[in-house]
């Protein structure tokens, strides 16, 4: 046989058709909003509500992608704000989570289990439930209407997942490596820097990517509540600028959405390989 597919991965033709049908169904469900959003962004505004509704755009053009910058002059700033908030949040999360995950993976201390459980429990609340207490907290800290108002709660809600993800990764680093370093006279910190950090790098990358994406997508609610300064508005709020007094500029809104998520898409695109291998590496040795 010329094929080198392992026996366990071989399927009959009808099984293959079934598998692909399943994947197609799933993909249609997930991707169709994006497809329609993209098609809307190509349509002239006047044709949007033409009846009968046409799925495929007539007189389609990319005009909305250039006019969107004029309708909302601050849009570039919003995209930058989003990137900035997510970037800072990711850096802060990593600085806190890397040592914390190591501690949870290696040290036995009273309350370790309950603490890990508590982190999971925090994740069960969405930020929205806690918005009022958070608001009071932000106000007393005096960070309302600053970048910190969006970064701090974002970081708080991103830490639990990041700790769980990285702890699992760090548990897989053999303990003997640390023992060997200890026998050779290395301090905890030296071992952490020279041995653990380099070995945990794929795991840290995974955490960085997921944290960045989540920070990018979750800033909406905090921005809406804790910030009223236009200059600090991130992308999701910025999109509201396309909601005019009389009408919504749908085509430009859709175009702006796609332009807005482009930076995140580019990040994912380049790190995708790392992301996948990192995550599966956590499952199988």
């Amino acid at each position: 046989m010329s094929t080198s597919t392992p026996m366990i991965n071989r399927y009959k033709w009808y099984e293959i058709i079934g598998i692909y049908c399943g994947i197609a169904l799933f993909l249609i469900f997930v991707l169709s909003p994006f497809v329609e959003g993209f098609l809307v962004s190509l349509k002239p505004l006047s044709r949007l509500f033409s009846s009968p509704y046409r799925f495929w755009p007539e007189h389609g053009s990319f005009a909305a992608y250039s006019t969107m910058w004029e309708s909302v002059p601050g849009f570039a700033r919003y995209v930058f704000n989003s990137l900035f908030i997510s970037g800072v949040a990711t850096v802060v999360v990593l600085m806190l989570v890397v040592p914390a995950a190591y501690a949870f993976a290696r040290f036995r201390f009273p309350g370790r289990g309950p603490l890990l459980g508590a982190f999971l429990a925090v994740n069960m609340f969405s930020g929205a439930v806690l918005i009022i207490p958070l608001f009071r907290l932000m106000r007393s800290m005096g960070v309302l209407n600053t970048y910190w108002a969006m970064i701090v709660p974002g970081v708080a809600f991103l830490i639990p997942t990041a700790i769980w993800l990285l702890r699992t990764y760090m548990l897989r680093i053999p303990k003997e490596l640390e023992e060997a370093a200890y026998v050779d006279g290395a301090s905890r910190l030296y071992t952490f820097r020279r041995v653990i950090l380099p070995l945990a790098m794929p795991g840290i990358t995974v955490v960085a990517i997921t944290t960045f994406i989540n920070a990018y997508s979750q800033q909406f609610i905090y921005a809406l509540t804790f910030n009223s300064k236009t200059d600090y508005m991130p992308l999701p709020i910025g999109l509201f600028a396309y909601f005019g007094r009389q009408e919504v500029i749908w085509n430009e809104l859709m175009a702006a959405s796609f332009v807005g998520i482009a930076p995140a898409m580019i990040v994912i695109f380049f790190l995708q390989r790392h992301l996948v291998s990192g995550l599966t590496a956590g499952a199988v040795k």
């Binding site: 053999p174 003997e176 490596l177 023992e179 060997a180 026998v183 050779d184 006279g185 020279r194 070995l199």
Partner: protein, 380 residues
Amino acid sequence: MRSVLGQLHLNKVTKSFGDIKVIKGVTLDIQDGEFVVFVGPSGCGKSTLLRIIAGLDDATTGDIVIDGAKVNDLAPVNRGIAMVFQSYALYPHMTVFENIAFPLRVEKMPEAELTAKVEAVAKVLQLDQRLQQKPGALSGGQRQRVAIGRAIVREPKIFLFDEPLSNLDAALRADMRIELTKMHHDLAATMIYVTHDQIEAMTMADRIVVLNGGFVSQVGKPLELYHKPQNKFVAGFIGNPKMNFLPATCTAAGPDGVTVTCEGQTIMVPVEPRNGLIGKTLTLGIRPEHIHLGKGDIRFDVVPTVVERLGVNTIVYATATGAEPFSAMLPGAANVSVDTPSTIGFNAADCHLFDGADQALERRTDLHEIDMAQLAAQSA
């Protein structure tokens, strides 16, 4: 070559994990330059004992003394020990050079001196062509050598090995065994070696420490353990296939030995007698390699159930009259076959006797096989 001493003394060391006592009081003296092997079945505490000596685990009670200084509270590096782990514990992201250099980097040794030392060690271990490779690119034996190199480079007083060969295949294991013995000779360092493999213990050790259930069962030279096991456990543990045990009744005890009845026959075993043995049920031990086909002071019939032909000898497994399985190692291609009764026998001089508490009655064997001077005199 070396001026550092590596004398180790364990004084009543115990170790408990919670309520479970793993080491139940070990007192042991290890001389400078000795190759000592800790051997015992899984869970006997041999690895734990090694980790206590290393300073990775602390002793619950008792003292660890190296060169006259109590080191209980010292970090491993200050004890002057180096350890080779079963899993090698190499740093996968570093080159072989950096792996070996790691202890020196920790010491902040100047670059030139460090390079010279690492290269010298690499040369000894035939790793000089591999210095820029990562451990992942090496074979099992080479990885093992890198791990040893990392231990040697620090020039410790005492080397600790935790089952270092158990991940290698049989052929490589035999090679590494010889290399390690040679290395011990060249370095003249104290080495403590943990294994569950009695071949490694017998071939490499100056002295073997047999551990059983957290106690030291016996300490002695390899052949001493083979010829004069102090108890039934050591007798059964050393030697492969393991020693056969038969029930025997003591009928007389005199200055020449102890007379027992076994399999309905009476023999006099040349062992040190003890008071109050007469009438007691003893255990008679006979090694498979001391069993002969058709002759001996005691003879009886067995029915072989499995026959293994190894060329140099034939191993017969049979059910004897007792419940315990019985094995015999016969020279060459012996004339035995499965399900056909064969008469086997053994001589009284080869027998071991154990009392009701499984303690051996000391054999009257002259240990000429242990004493090299006597051995030389005999062959001359």
